[in-house]
């Protein structure tokens, strides 16, 4: 079968709809006259874009470049809609993105948000996110890859297809690797089905660079290359406070100080994974808090005691051990942090 596109669908005399919709019943669309002046500020307030952006700003710490890009996209949407009122229609802008950054910088988190956001901004029909990695796309034998990739693409239609660690799709050493087949299908869909789904690729910077260098087609179809910077210590601190709040805890004043010191030390140590390290630290402090509460003499607690993380809960961490140069294994970090 000679296929022009990924799904073997080239509209032509022998495929596509048998019947065309009859336009005669449709009401004529009335466009604004060319000399109309439109109040963008009013349209903006009406669209609810500001609430969406404000919520994003409040719930995600830092990430300035990401937020800027989202604000730009939102603005483009508004302007596009306004242009359409005058009868100027441009094709749907390309929204495929690549998120690069170190572990735990929020790539997956933002991708989830992005699906919802683009839906609310009117770019996506559904706004769900289908998160996949190489294993979900690439098959194990000849003829296995195309159906697998198409299956995933169909599920993602109307939403975001998030390909984590996208560089694994392409294996330089092995030219017979099936990953290339998957990439080819993705390329066609990214081009032909721009209205149907947004593809977001994510991964670590250096490897993504290699990936794009080897797949120029992919590089050129991704309109938005967004770099996720490492978080600063104050940002990490804020993330820690947000996270604890989310799960119904607060830091005591001393514990807050200790958290800051903890983060200052932790940043320079091996296996540091930005916000994820904060999450792990919070989880371990929770464990220690629970143990502390059970082990106190009379074991009577009030709500405050149940929801407060004390300095001691953080100070027990390995990070505060006397020998800071000691190199720990990843496992020790996960267990003792």
């Amino acid at each position: 079968m000679s296929t022009g596109t990924a799904f073997g669908f080239t509209p032509g005399s022998v495929s596509g709809p048998q019947l065309e919709a009859d336009p005669s019943g449709e009401p004529e669309v009335e466009y604004l006259p060319a000399d109309t002046v439109v109040d963008l500020a009013a349209l903006r307030a009406e669209s609810g874009i500001d609430e969406v952006l404000a919520k994003l700003d409040e719930e995600l710490v830092g990430l300035a470049p990401v937020k800027t890009r989202i604000a730009e996209i939102a603005a483009l949407l508004l302007v596009d809609r306004t242009r359409a009122k005058f009868g100027i229609t441009a094709p749907q802008p390309t929204l495929h993105m690549s998120f690069t950054g170190n572990p735990g910088t929020g790539k997956t988190t933002v991708a989830m948000r992005m699906a919802d956001l683009l839906h609310r901004l009117g770019y996506l029909r559904r706004g769900h996110l289908v998160a996949v990695t190489r294993d979900d796309l690439v098959g194990e034998y000849v003829g296995h890859t195309a159906p697998k990739t198409k299956e995933v693409i169909k599920r993602a239609m109307g939403g975001v297809l998030f390909i984590d660690e996208a560089y694994y799709l392409y294996k330089v050493e092995n030219e017979r690797d099936y990953g290339g087949e998957s990439i080819e299908i993705l390329l066609q869909v990214m081009e032909n089905n721009r209205d149907d789904l947004v593809v977001i690729l994510a991964g670590y910077q250096d490897r993504m660079d290699t990936f794009f260098a080897a797949n120029p087609g992919m590089q050129s179809r991704v309109a938005h290359h967004v770099t996720f910077p490492d978080y600063t210590v104050p940002e990490l601190e804020q993330i820690g406070v947000l996270m604890t709040k989310d799960i119904g805890y607060t830091f005591s004043d001393e514990a807050h100080d200790v958290l800051k010191r903890y983060l200052e030390r932790r940043v320079g140590q091996p296996w540091f994974a930005n916000a994820r390290s904060v999450r792990n630290a919070v989880e371990r402090a929770r464990l220690r808090q629970a143990k502390r509460l059970l082990e106190t003499g009379d074991a009577k607690v009030d709500l405050k005691a149940l929801t407060t993380i004390e300095a001691a809960d953080l100070l027990a961490s390995r990070v505060f051990d006397s020998a800071p140069d000691e190199v720990l294994t990843a496992e020790e970090y996960t267990v003792r942090g």
């Binding site: 799904f7 495929s15 709809p17 169909k154 239609m157 089905n193 149907d196």
Partner: protein, 141 residues
Amino acid sequence: MRITQGTFSYLPDFTDEEITAQINYALSNDWPLSVEFTDDPHPRNTYWEMWGLPMFDLKDPAGVLLEVNACRKANPNAYVKLNAYDASLGRQTTALSFIVQRPADEPGFHVNRTEVRGRAIQYTTHSYATERPVGDRYGQG
């Protein structure tokens, strides 16, 4: 003779827009859809060829329409239908089924009357198209 069967047999054929609306309805009910095709549209032929597997976990009609179009392209002279399954009863139940493509020329059926014992008559419907081999029944495939 225009063959009709399925949920909307009493209606004229759907445009793609109308098909999309039906897919949307099925998806909103959590009914997975599947595409089937045949060049043997005898009313008793319940086993059409499957165009791939039923599509589970889809959220948007675009994915289904892609398969419909792929099937149309590969089988331009066949009947193509869309089925939607309702699994809420614990078994596969067809909730919706309708034709989304038909050959340009449909020769129809011939009725065979066989006189049997006691001059009773047995009727058989016979599709003219099936006189030709599979793949060659409704013009060049």
